[in-house]
Symmetry: C2
Subunit: 300 residues, 2 copies
């Protein structure tokens, strides 16, 4: 008999629910609008109802719940001061799930969950040392070393989006200056495009990506500069954990080689010689939310 | 009956041999001049003779040998292109030991070995997540996460001395520019002192340390700036592995709070808020070569 678990990906905009078997098959999926729920309790209740629905449809029972959430703390089962969620403070997420469903629940950071999914089913399959970087509204990351996710002493390891790459640089959402996130997130890409094109037109990173693919020189230059910054940051990260590969995930990676090539070039240029030509940059091989669902599911 | 192992610390200048029991007692010590030996084979032979001497003196048998060496590669048992040793290329160190002694041998990077020693017997006792930074001719490091040393895919993880902190900055021995090593090693401290005092007098980092303790304003300013750079670098490192503490080791740490205080201040100033006031900077609590001997011994 197959064992089923629920993998949940809570994001600032959407929350995705999946029921996953031990082979990594996501047999049931559901999507909720995170912002529709006034309190974490209400969101958790809605997720548990959705899980129940999935159990009925598949005629199975879920034995555990794994949750990936922004600022998710693996040790405490909490969401700690997430800047991209409207709920402030420390949210005892795992307890809320247990209270609502009676099912054992494990919580981790969304990027960590996605890194786990990638290791079990995606581009990092069979790798024991890799970096997983999510480019989106922010820049998140999961670090796997010795085949294990690194959580750090307080559960906050792998904040590569908040490594400072430009002293006195751009203001970052975290309140400091010069973080990777201020140069390589989707909003940062828009900022760079405005700088280069000397325009202020309303545009999204996705649209800049389309422009670049159609040969727009400002858009291409935007991805070149983004890759320059990202590659520099990653060269310093490689000096920390010596990974086999770096997996990029998220909207801006749709630019493909327009982003990957300048990133790899900048990486090589800035790497310590012992690492040169030895660290691959790959795109995630899993569809959008699958890595987080599968990763969250694989926590339990 | 006590089990005995040999812990060896190979440095550019000296090689230290220790015989260690399972309680971490170094009951026999010997020192060789690394540079006295023309080939790695001759050094290994001399080390094995010294081990033999120790066995006779203590009336014990050594069951395994652990070696910490610059650019030591744990996976391959080799020294790979060590810039601070006169022997070039890849040296099959573990094989040389087995050939000369018949005893099972494990090799690792010298800073990694020292980090292990610190975790078993020193300032990092009972810690599962910490950074170990050696300040000397170069800047080395060992990263422990989830209670394990991080070796990385190729065995070269933890090169924090070669994280770039100043783009287009000082030339580093590695051939690049702006590395931590070019700002925080003992020779870099001398360089900074020359810059600040606008002199070119021949002086060592140890002498600058003495000057600082006696109130010399240039020397004090030198350690302030060194701490500024080091704290900045460490703030970025904390964002990677989220350690409980950072342990500093090596000659320049003799400056005590003249180095620790500006380092801690710069660390706090540059840390992402979730880590603030949560990461201690400590000095190694083990005597000079003991951490490496004990760490090398604990490998086996």
């Amino acid at each position: 008999m197959s064992k089923w678990v629920a993998g949940i990906d809570i994001g600032g905009t959407n929350t995705v629910v999946g029921l996953v078997n031990h082979k990594g098959l996501i047999a049931y999926r559901d999507k909720l609008k995170t912002e529709d729920y006034a309190t974490p309790e209400e969101l958790v209740k809605a997720i548990c109802l959705s899980i129940k629905k999935g159990e009925l449809q598949l005629e199975v029972r879920v034995s555990a719940i794994g949750v990936g959430a922004p600022s998710g703390n693996f040790y405490h089962g909490t969401i700690d001061h997430a800047p991209n969620l409207k709920w402030k403070g420390v949210i005892p997420l795992a307890s809320l799930f247990v209270k609502a469903s009676g099912i054992k629940t494990v919580v981790t950071n969304d990027a960590n969950a996605a890194a786990m999914g990638e290791m079990k089913y995606g581009a990092a399959k069979h790798m024991r040392d890799f970096l997983y970087i999510t480019l989106g509204t922010g820049v998140g990351s999961g670090i796997v070393a010795n085949g294990q996710l690194i959580y750090g002493h307080l559960g906050f390891a792998g904040e590569l989006g908040h490594v400072i790459i430009e002293k006195d640089g751009r203001i970052c959402g975290c309140g400091r200056q010069g973080c990777v996130e201020a140069y390589c997130s989707a909003p940062a890409i828009v900022f760079t495009y405005h700088e280069i094109s000397k325009t202020k037109q309303e545009i999204t990173a996705t649209e800049i990506c389309e422009l670049a693919k159609n040969g727009d020189k400002y858009a291409i230059e935007t991805f070149n500069k983004t890759g320059d910054w990202l590659g520099f940051a990653l060269a310093n990260s490689v000096a920390h954990t010596g990974p086999e590969a770096i997996i990029l995930f998220g909207g801006p990676t749709a630019a493909g080689n327009l982003l990957i090539d300048p990133t790899q070039n900048s990486l090589e240029k800035n790497l310590l010689y012992v690492y040169r030509n030895k660290v691959k940059i790959l795109r995630s091989s899993l569809p959008e939310s699958d890595s987080a669902i599968l990763g969250a599911a694989s926590l339990v």
